[in-house]
Each structure stands twice: as structure tokens, then as C-alpha cells.
Amino acid sequence: MAKRESTFFNMVLALLTVTIVASASLGFIYELTKEPIETARAARKNNAIRAVVPDFDNNPTEEQFTITAAGGELVFYPAKKDGELVGTAIETFTNRGFSGTIKLMVGLLPDGTIHGIEVLEHKETPGLGDKMESDKSYFSAQFEGENPEDFRLRLRQDGGDVDGITATTISSRAYCEAVQLAYELYMDKDAEVSYELPTREKAVERVLEDFANAPLQEEYRVVVNGNEYTVFPGRRGRRHTGLAVDILSEAGYIGPIRLMVGFDSEGTITGIDVLRHEETPGYGDLIENARSDFYKQFIGLNPGEDNIRLKEEGGIIDGISGATVTANAYCEAVRSAWEIFRESGNR
């Protein structure tokens, strides 16, 4: 048979035939593999449940329930023996992996102790991030038998009790975060776990310690070095009890970092919250209060007496590993906030 000419009719005919045959065969294969794929998926989930909770005799997938939190859904699978709860397998997740979502199955005993953890799904780097899988390293074993009540689910360099995986800080952090989420929702099913940054209103309330007025309605401007800043005074009766300062540092790693810093009448820091930032997920965003305890070391310090700089800069603040620029900018913002506090005449 000679090659067909490229006429309009021949071209349409060829494309039509090829696409019809292709879609028909794909449909056929899809139908054929649909059931095995479902079975394989269910088997994987059941195996994961079995691996993370003690022996049970019920069917946890039948009693499953879902809780919505942190922008997604967690599925709880209660495991029972002789009608008594022996553990709960929780399908939890985080979107902060090095390459996207990580799904874990976390098994908790009734008192919240971790019995086992299995990775259900991840896209981390093969050879590095995938070491969090239980058959590839002992990383997940260190969680077994620990109760997050006294075992802090953070990496050692972030002030926790978890040994991270070499060269896999982001994946390890994300893993801990997913476990923490499961634990918090297990202990309190209505817990509000959210990684959203606070509004200005909420931040003012959080950073001021002691006030009986409505600081938001009494906001005023303070001018320092020709720049205008917004402050919110806290009062109890006529006595000034503190001041919340809305401050921006341009020295962030990616963009500006906006903080709300609260002082008492002596200029001692009573609280800090991050209002806005654009720093790198997994590194710079550890300045957020919900993500690490970085902010806690500032509370009780007085920038008038204490050197609010990173230790490597001669100060007293522990930085965030991998996010020095961000931590520096944060310190700078806190120091500027104190300047504003001093100029506000609110002592």
C-alpha cells in the first residue's frame, strides 16, 4: 500500500481513527484495572492502620470519621478489641513537604502516646526525603512509645526532641508538623489548628498583656526619623499598661516582614506576632508563632537593656537554622519597635 496523500479527508480520517481506537482501548483498560487499583489502595490503607495501632478485631474503616482542620481533612480510624478502644489510626497530612503534600498514618494509644507512624504518600526526594518511610531509616522509630505531651514534636535545632534526617530538614519538619496536627486533634477534637496569620485586631489582643480598654479604637501615630508608625495603647483606667507597635522590616530574605510587638509600661516585651511575611516555607516561615517557639525567647526581654541581636551578631537571640537573614530582620523589627515605644511617650 502506498503512503496516503496529505489531503484534508485523509488527515481527518487518520486522526479520527487513531483517537477513537486510543480512547476505546484506554476505556477498556481503565474498566479492567479499576477494581485492582481500588483493592490495592484499600489494602495499603489497611496495612498502614494495622502497622500503627495494637491488635484489633473491629473494622476501623467502617467506624472512620473525619475532622476538618488546617485547610484539609484528617480521617480517624478507631481500632477496638472486644469493643474497647485500643488505639486510633489517624490519616494526617501537611502541605509543607519539600515537594508538596505528605500524608501519614499516625497511630495513637488512647492516652495519646504514639504507637507507630507510616508514610502513606509523599513526593520527597528519593534517597533523601524518602528516608522518612519506616523501612528506609530509623527516623520514624524514634516517635514510637513517646507521648507528645512530654516529647516535643520539633527538630532538635528548632528546640524539640526529634532527630532530623541529614540534609532533609524541610521534610523532617513537615513530618513532625503532620504528627503534631494529628495529636492535637486527637486530644481535642474541636481544637482550632490553623496556620493562618492573625489579623491586626487579634495580634494586638495577643501581644498586650494587661489592658481593660479597646486599644484598637485608641490607635495613634508616632513619628520616628521622619517615618510614621501606628501604635495601640493598652490602659487600665487612666494608667498606661502597655503599647502594641505595628512595625515593618524591609530586611527580610524575600520581602518585608510585618510584626506586632507588645510592650508593658517598662518597655519589656510582652508578646510578638507576625502579621505578614513572604519568607521561604520550611525555613523563614518558622518565625510564625504557630510554627516554632522562636518568638518566645523575646518575651520578658527589654530592648533597652538586652541586646536584641542574633548570637552570631553578639546578641542573645538564638537564630533559626537556615534562616539567618529572616531572623536578623525579625530582630531589627523588634529593635525599631522599641525605638517607637520610647518615642511614643507612653511609659
Binding site: 500500500m1 487518520a14 487513531v18 487499583i37 495499603r44
Partner: protein
Amino acid sequence: MDQAKNFTKGFIRENPVFILMLGLCPALGTTTSAFNGMGMGLATMFVVLMSNIVVSLIKNFVPNKVRIPCYIVIIASFVTIVDLVMAGFMPALHEQLGLFIPLIVVNCFVLGRAEAFASKNTLLSSVIDGTGMGLGFTLALTLLGASREILGSNAIFGLQFIQADGMLVFILAPGAFIALGYLIALANRLNKQ
């Protein structure tokens, strides 16, 4: 054409990765271990073989001007079939390679065989070409995966032979380029002899 030569040309003489430099994206991306490289190679081999067969069969039916879209549809269908069958019947392997299987569609090596060989040759030659080139691709990926695994994780096919961290760079993207460069040099050396 000498069919034996046709079969063996993919191993070294016209090795798709080392000599023709085709399909480098999956070659670099999937070869973090020998097992992954081999799995990806075999999956690609299946797609090359099947698309070679079909393209060779319909080469006279498809007019020249629309041949590329037709080949792509055929290749994409086989890739999806591999993906579905693997997910259904080999879930363990699919877990390892699932991410990379769809990438076979854009592997220019597969389209290259369809365009450069199967569309001009008989069915038998195309089957032999597809198998030979597919094996050559598998060989290249397995070698690359093995060398990266040996250097990067001190293991081969998952069997650890030194209990220590390897040279991490070989697991990461830069290591892929370094290892590939040396293997290309080696293949060219062998080719010259």
C-alpha cells in the same frame, strides 16, 4: 538489513542515552537507584516496543502532515496503559515509579524511534529495533542508577554494603549530571575501539 546488528545497535553503538543523547530528562530524574532506573527503563521499553509495532503497522495509513500528532496519541495511550496496569497489578513498583511513568510521554527517545525508524521500516525490523533500543535504554538507566546508588547511598539494588551515609550529591540532581557525564565518556571510548 542485518537483524542482529539492528538488535544490538542500541546497547552501545547507538545507545539512546549515551550516544544519541535522547530521553535525558527521565534518565537524570529517575535514576536515584539501580532499581528505579531499571523499572523506568523496562516501562519505557514496553512503550517503545508497542508504539513501534503500531506505528509500523499504520505507517501507510497516516498522511505525512499529521503523523506526529498520531504518534503522540499512540505513545500517550500506551503510557497510560502502563500506568494503570502497574497501579492495579504491581502496586509496590508503581509506588516507586508512579511519578515518573507519565513522563515517558514526553520522552523524545520514544517519539524518535517512531519517527526515525518504525515509520520507515517493516514490522519485524521495528519489533527488533524497539526491543534492542529499549534494552539499551534500560541498560543505560540501570548503569546510571547503580553508579549513583553505589556512590550516593553505599548500596546496590537496595542492599547496603557500607553502613554509612554516602556522597549525598550523587543522589541529588548535580550528581546525576556528573555520573552521566562520566558514563558518556566511557561509552564513547568503548565505541571508538
